[in-house]
Symmetry: C2
């Protein structure tokens, strides 16, 4: 990566935007420039980048000029609005929203799983849903050894999935309940403090919410198995920023838990956490703020000879969103799948456009 | 129930004991006497029973004399110690511990499922595990229509499952975290506030904890299906007193969600909670303090033609423990499966012994 890149972050003031800034600094992404963009009302705000402080600019028609890579985390409608502007300016957009994920012309990439898919980008790469990424990182290494036939997942999703304000709201709700007061609800339809409820995204006719259908459809696309059988129950829990998942897997043949553990111990992005004596397994407080997906309780499914059960916790803001996006940017840089603006002047048709 | 009974509560000062007292009052159980028993160190404490206050007596060799029904909720080792004493005194013990549940001579009873099993008691009836009761009440009505072939459960278990002190500890931990302090841990090995972790009961060689094996083995016994395929992941969550469960069911044939909902709407002990427009489904805060198991999100399993998914919340202290025990006592009274001490004098051999 001797080349360096002009990067813009769209949605720089949100929970994922803040993490994107941290990760670009931490991982020393080769930056020629870093532009931090947000909506008009956040313009002028200051955000931290390593030891520096950057000033947020309002996103606009010229905001992406000379930019090579856009890390977008501004919600689906803003992504739809600005992705074409950024693409037209010659940038590659790595979009964290759900707007383009199922578009057949847009690669949906988890670098540990399907890095090569990123090569086919037409100026836009989608970052998958957080629960989907975490599950994918944990189970794909097993799928490579024996194909997965069926996945049944139940999730334990933290407040961060609904943004920085939602995390704050859970704390405020919790204090209210401890003080004997009525908890306020703004980000969520029901109190999440000392409570939990099914993920409050719209339900389809079959009774599945959007979050659950993301786990089904995005997993199929990322794994490249269009008919993979997946069913999920997505639940929000009063945890701040790491998601957990109970996952039941059915393979085409018996899969020894011992062998599965060995595979996962050397799998990229995975850390096996299993102390059977101490009853110590993945927990969201341990997964918060770190890169790997913590996986444990890998055991034979008692109800099926070809089944395995496992349990994971992973940072929803980091690997579930910002880290995966930055890894995609690193992949583009490493494999030379993005052309810096300086080179675009002379070989315009090569990439993007 | 023109007859009335002499009842003793063993473990009257705990979370379940407190609830037993409330339920006996609320449901106007026909009492000739109510004796409240606990360990030596709780003797002399006062407990509420309706408008009355009762004084706790230390349990001892004569504590069960002339008692007809013992509601025991004092943990496995105390139950083992005192059940035989109570039985020898002629009482029927309804035991909330796990000590006797898998004993083939001891009925394991959920009145909505297998009331007739209680008839065969030999002075001892076991009250099942809380997660098992809640799941059983919700899925048995479906099993009666089309046999269940396989159950995969993931639980979201409240602090009350570890007792009244654990509930208090979660509040203390939560306040500590909100104040930026280190949360104390006594009842649990890890902080539960803003966190969650696999149920901290000992694990077997296959990697399943005791709580999970209770769901497997007790469900088989209660349903009378010794080879029923069940697998479970049991997780403690920072909720105070109601458990929730994501349940995946496989039947011997397709089962329409519409039909399943109709069946559950008229099932005993179940309340269907489904507002698809408002995204309103069972939540632990709604299940706390009420009798029915709340069931919702009844939907076709996307990964199996004969599968259904559902979601439930139920009060762990009430239907998960105390209410089920009181219902067993009511069953014994209604069906004349317990002989009051007054009658035992003249027809000693009839019941118990």
């Amino acid at each position: 990566m001797s080349q360096s890149y002009r990067v813009a972050i769209l949605g720089a003031t949100g929970a994922v935007g803040t993490e994107l800034l941290q990760l670009l600094a931490e991982r020393q992404f080769p930056l020629a420039e870093l532009r931090v963009l947000a909506s008009e009302r956040s313009a002028g705000k200051r955000v931290a980048f390593g030891d520096e402080t950057l000033t947020v600019e309002a996103v606009g028609d010229r905001a992406f000029d000379d930019i090579d890579i856009v890390l977008a985390s501004a919600g689906g409608s803003r992504s739809k609005q600005w992705a074409s502007v950024a693409k037209a300016a010659g940038a590659v957009v790595i979009d964290n929203s759900s707007a383009f994920r199922m578009d057949p012309t847009v690669p949906l990439v988890v670098p540990e799983i399907n890095p090569d898919a990123a090569a086919d980008h037409e100026g836009l790469i989608a970052n998958p849903n957080c629960t989907t990424i975490l599950m994918g990182v944990a189970v794909y290494p097993l799928h490579q050894v024996h194909p997965i036939r069926r996945i049944i997942a139940a999730t334990y999703q933290s407040a961060s999935g609904a943004g920085a304000m939602a995390m704050e709201e859970v704390k405020v709700q919790t204090q209210a309940i401890l003080d004997g007061k009525t908890p306020p609800t703004n980000s969520f339809p029901y109190p999440l403090a000392f409570n939990l409820f099914p993920h409050n995204t719209p339900l389809n006719e079959a009774g599945y919410c959007e979050e659950e259908m993301k786990m089904v459809n995005e997993t199929r696309k990322i794994f490249g198995v269009p008919d993979l059988r997946v069913s999920a129950t997505c639940i929000r829990v009063p945890v701040l920023r790491a998601h957990s998942e109970a996952i039941n897997l059915e393979f085409d043949q018996p899969f020894s838990p011992h062998k599965a553990k060995e595979i996962l111990q050397s799998a990229p992005g995975v850390q096996v956490v299993e102390d059977w004596q101490a009853n110590y397994f993945p927990m969201p407080i341990d997964a918060s703020g770190i890169d790997p997906v913590l996986v444990g309780r890998i055991r034979q499914d008692l109800s099926h000879p070809c089944g395995l059960e496992l349990w994971l916790s992973g940072d929803q803001v980091r690997k579930g969103a910002a880290l995966n996006a930055v890894q995609i940017a690193e992949l583009l840089a490493q494999r030379n799948w993005v052309k810096p603006a300086s080179q675009r002047q002379t070989s315009f048709a090569a990439v993007g456009g």
